[in-house]
């Protein structure tokens, strides 16, 4: 009886922490862009859109992990665009050492309606990175980034 009860309690505690941990990847949908921009809070910010099924994205993610760990002040938001199970997103983020980063996933169709408010010229290419300076000026980079350029941009704009 005692063993059963302890096992039950332990599993409940594990379930509680697992449940809380799952929410580190937040949903993003059409209409949310303004709230993402507010995260900048007067500082320069990079928003990186990536997909689990996009080979160049997957290749690049560990380098984003390195950037985050080497420059703690760099504000970066990651948004995953593919319709895949959350555990696959988590696995890839953990491998890239981005488990504790500011992570989102697209929770509605990844279509022109969702992308338009982000940038009307974006047709869905991934990866893309949008750099937004303190004045709100945007710069979109399609494809893998040059991390020296990104680091220099953060330094110059901070």
């Amino acid at each position: 009886m005692k063993k059963i009860l302890i096992t039950f309690v332990v599993s409940l505690v594990i379930a509680a922490f697992t449940n809380a941990q799952e929410m580190t990847i937040k949903p993003y949908q059409k209409g949310d862009w303004a709230s993402i921009l507010k995260l900048a809070d007067g500082k320069p910010m990079a928003i990186h859109f990536w997909g689990v099924t996009c080979p160049p994205c997957v290749k690049e993610m560990p380098q984003w992990g390195k950037l985050i760990s080497s420059d703690k002040a760099a504000k970066v938001v990651f948004i995953q665009v593919d319709d895949v199970p959350p555990e696959m997103m988590r696995k890839m983020l953990e491998q890239a050492k981005l488990g504790n980063a500011n992570n989102y996933y697209i929770a509605s169709p990844f279509d022109e309606r969702l992308r338009y408010e982000i940038d009307p010229k974006w047709r869905g290419e991934t990866p893309i990175t949008i750099l937004i300076d303190k004045a709100g000026k945007k710069e979109m980079m399609i494809g893998s980034v040059n991390f020296q350029t990104v680091k220099a941009w953060f330094k110059k704009n901070s």
């Binding site: 080979p55 279509d111 309606r113 047709r123």
Partner: protein, 416 residues
């Protein structure tokens, strides 16, 4: 005494644990709701069922006796239904495959379906077969006009990764299939010289899809995430268009004729100079007219030009006309699609104006020399699939799946 203490400790532990669970859930909900509040919007319920109403992509095929076969992917399933009244009503759908979240439903993915003159139906689709997101193309056959289907099986034996099947059926009932194949990319990685991209592979079947010839590679270097366009020329040869990778990592478009001897020369359509390693998820379209003129349309973000463009070739792809912009410059134009019959050519595309998604059309009656002004064919306010074109006799139809307005098959003209 011990019993009392144990029960007491147990109760405290249990209440504490339940509290944590509740806290965890509340924390989760708070995170969710605060996000919603921040967004100032209400989240619509996700459309997750297997029906056509929740489909992300629907592919039509019209049989010679005007029966519409429609294949779609939704809720992790691949389904097929038939319509005897050109899409107004459908038979109960048949689920032919189920892969859950492993089903490939990316921006350029769609099930492919063809039917021969004997009523055999052949369908292909891709799904992710392992945790490294390697994909596999499965084939499914029906010998009774689409009422029942075989168990899905792999198109390619011992493949590394295959995605984006594109199919044609010849009047002699042979089937052509092309796809993005990653065997050479996998080999390059194993050989210590990894590279991005994929290859264009193809094969033919002369028995309704039961068996295929050994696959061949048409181009070793292509984009890995854009579907291939295909059309038959007057000789009955497939002509394919795809986003190739040229020297220096330039991802511009090319066409190739697939003859009985194999793939012919790679013909570059234009020098858009899009140097990128990104996944555009935006493949090109092709239609070959009765004169053999090749009509193509594509999307690029190149240094030389950016947007959606059209060009044609009257010499089997040796030379192409100067690209013409499709839609207004600066507008959000995407997903061009072409159909050619006789010397008539139809070009449709999507435009998003910030509120609605429109499907617009231009028509040429002289093999692409001159074009009509753009005409609005349909619009919708929610999610929509790519606009596709099919023919019945000498009539042209727009096939368009929309979330808010359902599936539509609209007659848009006929050969003049």
């Amino acid at each position: 005494m011990f019993k009392v203490s144990f029960h007491l400790i147990s109760k405290v532990l249990l209440i504490g644990a339940l509290g944590l669970v509740v806290f965890g859930s509340v924390f989760a909900q708070m995170d969710h709701s605060s996000h919603m509040m921040g967004a100032g919007s209400t989240k619509p319920a996700a459309c997750i069922g297997p029906g056509l109403d929740c489909a992300n992509a629907a592919t039509p095929f019209l049989t010679s006796d005007s029966k519409l076969l429609l294949a779609w992917t939704s809720g992790g399933k691949v389904s097929v239904a038939q319509s005897a009244d050109m899409g107004k009503t459908f038979s109960p759908p048949v689920v032919v495959a189920e892969h859950g979240k492993s089903l490939d439903t990316g921006g350029d993915a769609r099930a492919q379906i063809v039917s021969d003159s004997k009523g055999n139906v052949f369908l292909t689709y891709a799904f992710f077969k392992d945790k490294n997101w390697n994909a596999q193309i499965n084939k499914v056959l029906s010998g009774d006009g689409g009422k029942t289907f075989t168990t899905p099986e792999s198109l390619v034996a011992n493949g590394s990764s295959e995605r984006f099947p594109s199919m044609l059926i010849h009047p002699d009932n042979s089937i052509f299939i092309a796809w993005i194949d990653k065997r050479l990319i996998a080999a390059a990685k194993q050989g210590g010289a990894p590279k991005l991209g994929g290859s264009i592979a193809y094969s033919f079947s002369n028995d309704g899809g039961k068996a295929f010839q050994v696959e061949r590679i048409a181009n070793e270097d292509s984009c890995e995430c854009c579907r291939i366009g295909a059309s038959l020329n007057p000789k009955g040869q497939p002509v394919i268009v795809y986003r190739a990778i040229f020297s220096g990592g330039i991802r511009d478009h090319a066409t190739q004729v697939i003859s009985s001897k194999g793939s012919e020369q790679i013909r570059r359509i234009s020098k858009d100079e899009w140097k990128t390693d990104a996944c555009p998820h935006h493949g090109p379209s092709i239609a070959v007219s009765a004169t053999g003129a090749i009509h193509t349309a594509w999307f690029t973000q190149g240094k030389a030009r950016s947007g959606v463009f059209y060009a044609n070739s009257h010499d089997q792809g040796k030379t192409y006309s100067t690209p013409i912009r499709v839609g207004k410059e600066g507008a959000n134009i995407s997903r061009p699609y072409l159909l050619a019959m006789g010397k008539s050519v139809w070009l449709v595309w999507k435009e998003f104006d910030g509120e609605s998604t429109l499907v617009l059309m231009k028509k040429s009656s002289d093999d692409g020399k001159t074009w009509s002004p753009a005409k609005l064919l349909a619009q919708t306010s929610e999610y929509s699939d790519h606009p596709l074109l099919i023919s019945r006799g000498d009539e042209a139809y727009l096939s368009w799946l929309t979330r808010a307005d359902g599936y539509q098959l609209i007659k848009i003209g006929q050969v003049e």
